[in-house]
C-alpha cells in the first residue's frame, strides 16, 4: 500500500547546524504517529518539513501524491488550509478573537459564510465541552481549554493530517490527559492522520507507531499499538 505521506532523503540545515540528515519516512492514512527524541534532535524540523512549513534543502515530501517540497509558498498555504491542521504547545490562539471566532478562521479562509462558520465552530466547541467558553478571549481560558480550542480550530476544516507539536507539553497531567483523549477521539472518528511530537512516553503510548529522531536521523521506529 502506498504511504499517505512519504518523506525521502530529507536534509535540512540551519547555518552550520544539520537539523535533518537524510530521513526516510512513510506514514499511512489515519495513522497516529508519535515523534520522540531529545531536544535539538530534529523532531520539529521534521514535522515542519512534512507540513510544508519548512522547505528541505534536499529530499522530497509527498502527501497524497502531491510533492509538497516542490510547491511554491502560495500552493503550500492552500495545502495547509485544506489538508493540514496544527496544534502547538501554547500561544497559538489569536489573542484578539474569542474562542469561537478563533475556530471559525480556517472556515472563513476557505470561503465559508460567517454565519455557517459560527454554527460549525459552535458545534466543535460543543463536542469538546467548551460551549460555555465560546465567547471568551484566549487570555480568559485555562491552558487546557485553550488547547482544546486549538484542537477544534485544527480539525474544524476536516484536514487529512493533524500536526501536533507537544500539544500537552504545557499542561498538568489531568488536563493533558483530557486534551489528548479528546484529540485522539476526534482524529480516530474522522480518520485523520496525526503526527505528534512529544517527550512524554505516556503520551506516545497512545500512538499507533512511535518514531525516535536523534541527531537528525531516524534512530528507531516502533509499532506501539495502543489505540
Amino acid at each position: 500500500m502506498t504511504a499517505f505521506i512519504q518523506a525521502r532523503g530529507l536534509r535540512k540545515s540551519f547555518g552550520t547546524t544539520d537539523a535533518l540528515r537524510g530521513i526516510d519516512l512513510d506514514i499511512h492514512r489515519g495513522e497516529v504517529i508519535a515523534v520522540m527524541g531529545p531536544s535539538g534532535s530534529g523532531k520539529s524540523s521534521l514535522l515542519h518539513c512534512l507540513a510544508g512549513v519548512l522547505v528541505p534543502d534536499s529530499g522530497t515530501v509527498i502527501v497524497d501524491g502531491v510533492t509538497v517540497s516542490a510547491l511554491n509558498e502560495a500552493r503550500r498555504s492552500a495545502l495547509r488550509l485544506t489538508e493540514f491542521g496544527f496544534v502547538f504547545q501554547f500561544g497559538q490562539l489569536l489573542p484578539d478573537l474569542t474562542a469561537v471566532d478563533n475556530v471559525t478562521i480556517p472556515l472563513l479562509l476557505g470561503g465559508m459564510k460567517r454565519k455557517q462558520a459560527l454554527k460549525e465552530a459552535h458545534g466543535w466547541l460543543d463536542r469538546l465541552g467548551l460551549e460555555a467558553a465560546a465567547a471568551r478571549l484566549p487570555g480568559e481560558l485555562s491552558g487546557g481549554e485553550a488547547q482544546r480550542v486549538a484542537i477544534a480550530r485544527a480539525l474544524v476544516a476536516h484536514p487529512s493530517v493533524l500536526f501536533a507539536d507537544e500539544p500537552t507539553g504545557s499542561l498538568d497531567s489531568l488536563a493533558a490527559e483530557n486534551v489528548l483523549t479528546a484529540m485522539l477521539e476526534l482524529v480516530r472518528q474522522a480518520g485523520t492522520t496525526l503526527v505528534m511530537i512529544t517527550h512524554d512516553p505516556r503520551t506516545a503510548a497512545y500512538a499507533d507507531r512511535e518514531i525516535i529522531v536523534r541527531d537528525g536521523q531516524l534512530a528507531a521506529t516502533d509499532r506501539v499499538g495502543i489505540s
Binding site: V53, S77, A78, F86, F88, Q89, D96, I105, L108, R114
Partner: protein
Amino acid sequence: MNPSIVRLAVVGSRASWGRLLGITAGVAVGVTLALLLWGAYQGLDARDERSSWMSASGEYVVGGDTSQRAVTGDMASLGNDRVLLAPTTDRHEGVRISRFDVAAPTTSGVTIPDIAALPQSGEYYASPALIDRIARVPADELGDRFGTLAGTISDSGLASPDSLVAVVGAATSDLIERPTAQIVTGFTGPPYRASSNYQTVAIVGAIAVLFPVLLLVSIVTGLGAAARRERFATLRLIGATPRTVAAIAAMETAATSFVGALIGVLMAALLGPVAALVRVDDGAFFPADLAVTPFAAAMVVALTVAASAATAGWRIRRAGIGPLGQTKQPQEKTPSLLRLLPLTGGLGLLTATTLAVLAGLPVPRVGTLIIIGFTITTVGLLVAGPYLTLIAGRIMARRSGAAAGIIAGNRIRRTPVATFRSVSGLVVAVFMVSVFAGAATTADGGVIPVAGPGLLPVSTLIQYLEPTSDAADPAETDAELARLAAIAGVTGVVTVYRLDSGPDAGRLLLSADAAKGLGLGAVPSAPVVSVNSDVMTGATAVFTAAEVTDMAALTPSILLLGTDGSTAAIERARTALQAGGVFATGWAPAGTRTDLADDRLESMAASFATLAYLGIGVATVIAGLSLAIATISAMIDRRRMLALLRLLGMNFSGLRRIITLEAAAPLLSVMVLSIGLGFLVAELILVGLTDGGRSVGWPDLRYLGALTASAVLALAAVAAAASRLGKNTDLAAIRYE
C-alpha cells in the same frame, strides 16, 4: 546598577541594535524638524523686525493740510524733521515690488535705518534682488521707473533676500498729489506684518507641525515594545525589581534619545540653509533667520531626552512586567464617550468666542482664546480618536464576513488606543489641512479670471486715476496718450470715465468706438456707452447707450492699455505709465486683472494659505513616516500571530488585507470627522478674527492635492509595512518565539 546588565539588556541582540537605531533615527528626525520649526517661527519674527521701517505711516496730506506746518509743493516746507512718503505696491512680471517714494530736503534729519541717506529726486535705493532684476531686463521694462541708483538697501532692512524694495526720491510737488502721500517723522513703525492675526496664524501653524513631530517621537520610542517586555521579564526572573527594569528602560531611551537629539541638532544646522530657501510670504529666509541659539537647541535636547526617558520608564512600570512576563495580553481600558468631552470643549470655546465677537460683545484677547480653543480641539481630536476607532472596530468585527476583516476588527476593538496612535499623525495632518484650506478659501477674490467672451483680457493694463488728474493740461494729456499708444506691443489706449450721479451713476463711460476696440461684445449705436464697473474685476461686460454724449467735461477715471499679451509689452507699458507722470498719480501703479486679483490676495488669507501648505507638507510627511514606523513596529510585535495565520493557510494577500484594514478603519472613521471639523474650526477662527468679515468657501485644488498626498502616504506606509511581511512572518516564529 551594573552597567554590564544594562548593556546586555539593551543591546543583547542584533534586533536590539536595529530597534535602537530606529529610535535614534526617529528622534533625530523629530528634533531636526522641531528646531527648524522653531527657527522658522523666530525667522518670521526677525523678518518682521527688519522690515518694520516699511510700515511707517503718518498723516495723509491729500485733501489739504491745514495745520500751521502745512506742506506745500516747496521741499523746504517739510523742514528737517518730516518726510513726505507715498508707499505703493508695484509689479514686474507678476512679482510685487514694495516701492516707497519719498521727498525730503537734503538736510533732513529723518533717516531710514538701512539706507545711507534719503534719495533725492531722480535717485533711488533698491534691494539687491531688485537691482539684479533691473540689470536683467531692458530699462524701458523696469529700470526707467526709478531713476538713478544711489545705493543698496542692506539685508538688515529686508524681510528676505528675495524682497523687491525700492526707496525712490521724488519732488514734494509730485508726491503731494498722490493719494497715498503722508507725512512721516521717522521710519520706525510696528513690525511690518506682525499683526495679532498673523501671529495667531503663525502659532496655529506651528502647532500643526509640532503635533506630528511629537507623535513621531512618541511612536519611535515605543519601537519593539513586545521584544523589550520579554527581555525585561527575563531580568525580573533573575531578580531585577520593577524599579530596576523601569530605570533600565528609561536609561536605554535616554541614551538613544540623546544621541538622536544630538544628530537632530546637527541635521538642523546642516539643513538650515536648505530650509531657508523655502519661500514664505515675501520670499526665502536669510540662513541666519533659521539659526536657533545654542541655549534653545540645548533646551530641545534636554526636553526630548527627559520626556522620552520618563515616558519609557512609565510605560514599563505601567505594563506591570512580572518574572513570568505578561502571561495575559495587556488589556487597554475601553475608551468611553467621555473621550469626546475635550473635543466638545474646544469647539465650544471657539464657538462661544465667535458668537461673542459677532454679537459685538467686548471679548479680550480674541487671538489667545482662539489659539486655546484650537489647541484643545486638536488635542480633543486625538483624545476622541480611540473612541471612534473602537466604534469602527466593533462595526467591522460584527459586519465583516471575511477572516481578515474579523481579525482586523477585533484587533482594533481590543486595542483602539494603540491602533489610533499609529494613524493619529495623519489624522491631525488632515485636520490641519482642512483648517488651513478652509481658511485659505477666504481669498476667493484671488481666483484669476479666465479669458472669454465679454471679459476684459488679462493682457490689458488697468490704471486707476485720481481726480487730480484733471489738473493736467489737455494738450499734455493727449501727448501722453499718443506716447503710450506708440509703445511697441501696446494695441490701444482707452480713457474711461465714471459718473457719480444720474442714470449712469456707478457705471463706466467710454466712447462707443473705444468700446468696440476693446472687443468685449455688442456695443449699442450711441456716441458714448456705459459698461458695468465690475468688468475690471472679471465680470462680463454689458454695454448700454449712455445719456451723456460729450465726455470732454468729465474727469478721467481709468486708463486702459491693451497689449499684445507679451510680458515685455505689459512691462513697457507699465513703466511708461509710471515714468510719464501724468497718469502716475493713482493709489497704485497699473496692473492687469491678474495683478489686481493677486493684490486682493495680499491679506491675512494669503498668510493662512502660505503657512498652511508649508506646514501641511511637513506634517503630512512626518505623519506618513510615523504611520509606516508604527505599522512595521506593530507587525514585528505581532509576528507570531501573523505567522500563525500563515500556518493556518492565510496567504500574504490576506495578511496584507489585515494590516491595511487596521490602518484604514481608524483613518477613514476619524478622517471624515477631521475634514468636517477642520472646516468648522476654520470658519470659527476666521469669523472670530475678522469680526465676521470673512467666512469659509470651497477649497481649491491644492486641498485635494494635500488630501491625495495624505492618502498616497498612508498607502505607501502600509505598503512599506506589507513589504516586510515575508521577513516578519517566518513560520518558525510560532514555535521558537
